[in-house]
Amino acid sequence: MKDGIRIDGRKPDELRPIKIEAGVLYRADGSCYLEWGGNKIMAAVYGPREAMPRHIQDPTKAIVNARYNMVPFSVEDRKRPGPDRRSVEISKVTSEALEGVIFTELFPRATIDVCIEVLDAEAGTRCAGITAAAVALADAGIPMRDLPVACAAGKVDGTVVLDLTSDEDKEGDADLPIAIAPRTEEILLMQMDGHMTPAEFDEAVELAIKGCREVSKLQREALMNKYKTFEVE
């Protein structure tokens, strides 16, 4: 931080550039490609379809099964493929965040599979993943209460900043990713590592929500871009 400008030239409350495209995959029921700074994320939704094996079925509602995966070439050193502690955790919190907005009770015994592939990673992949998954779910026509969106805030050199880069994440004091349902601003996911005072925490949450609202606009734009020319069958 120098004179209120961050290492990559952004202001403390500025997001990295974001690009979202809906419906990029033919085989998936819904999909989304997202670029967020140095992150490149592909999200695909399959289902609702019959949950297998049978004992995982819930006769009252659908299960939401998100799978967050980093491809081996997504980070500087080759990442060993397959789930690890980190990606299993992110898969779990993502599933739970998305479950909070999907009308799962409409699809008993079914599963809704969400695959989030991180093709290129540069801090904030779980937020980017949730944001992409939300667009893919809408693209799959799955009824949702809201279009969820995620964004992180954190603390670097004693200043609360929005949307940390990889260097800020490593060298900074704290990182706070949150996911919200933008209409009600209900929080669907919140995690934190590092240390912040209660005052800084409140400031960070507010800043992250402000970031979410901006990302939400881009999500809506991406869906509108795909569907504005469509006519009802």
Binding site: P48, R109, P143
Partner: protein, 192 residues
């Protein structure tokens, strides 16, 4: 209430509950009617409900009258148990339960004494969905419905239609089935 025909996204407020009730693809929360899918906003004037006509593809739910392709899993005395593997004319997988049953009375227009010689395990058949709740029931009455591919019970190679019977090209075994009029054509998307 927003203008009819407006493209809406999940979470968009379309009306208040004093104006309309929540209909297809909408829900009500705190007196507001909100869209649940991407689509065009419509008002159903008969029911005075708010609806969203989806623009995206939608999850595949089963309806009475759908033409379904199934694989026979079990044949009992009065029932054929099968798994629905495809709905004619649809691309997506069935959302939820796929196990269906055909009662002996719905197998054919003629009287069926026994299911032997009608269906065997592993047969691929086309049928119509006649009930969805509480369990899926299908019917294969009519010449368009019945087995569209069957396997030899002796050597499991696909049977070939010879007149009104099926013959195994590798072992010469002759078998009987309730055959659809387009047996062997492999037309999974024929909607009847």
């Amino acid at each position: 209430m927003i203008e009819e025909g407006t493209t809406v996204l999940p979470g968009d407020k379309v009306a208040v509950s004093e104006e309309l009730k929540a209909g297809k693809s909408t829900y009500e929360e705190n007196g507001e009617i909100i869209a649940a899918v991407v689509g065009k906003f419509r008002v159903n004037r008969e029911e005075m409900s708010a609806e969203v006509e989806p623009l995206s593809s939608t999850p595949l739910l089963l309806h009475i009258g759908d033409t379904a392709i199934g694989e026979v899993k079990q044949v009992t005395e009065a029932m054929v148990i099968l798994k629905i593997i495809h709905i004619a004319g649809k691309h997506r997988q069935v959302a939820g339960e796929r196990d269906a049953a055909i009662h002996i009375s719905n197998v054919s227009d003629e009287f069926v004494e026994s299911l032997k010689g009608k269906y065997r395990i592993g047969d691929i058949l086309r049928g119509k969905i006649i009930r969805v709740e509480p369990a899926i029931q299908m019917s294969t009455r009519g010449k368009e419905f019945g087995v569209i591919k069957a396997y030899c019970t002796n050597c499991r190679s696909p049977l070939v239609k010879k007149g009104e019977i099926l013959e195994c090209p590798s072992c010469g075994r002759v078998e009987e089935r309730k055959i659809a009029d387009d047996y062997g054509a492999g037309d999974l998307d024929r909607v009847i």
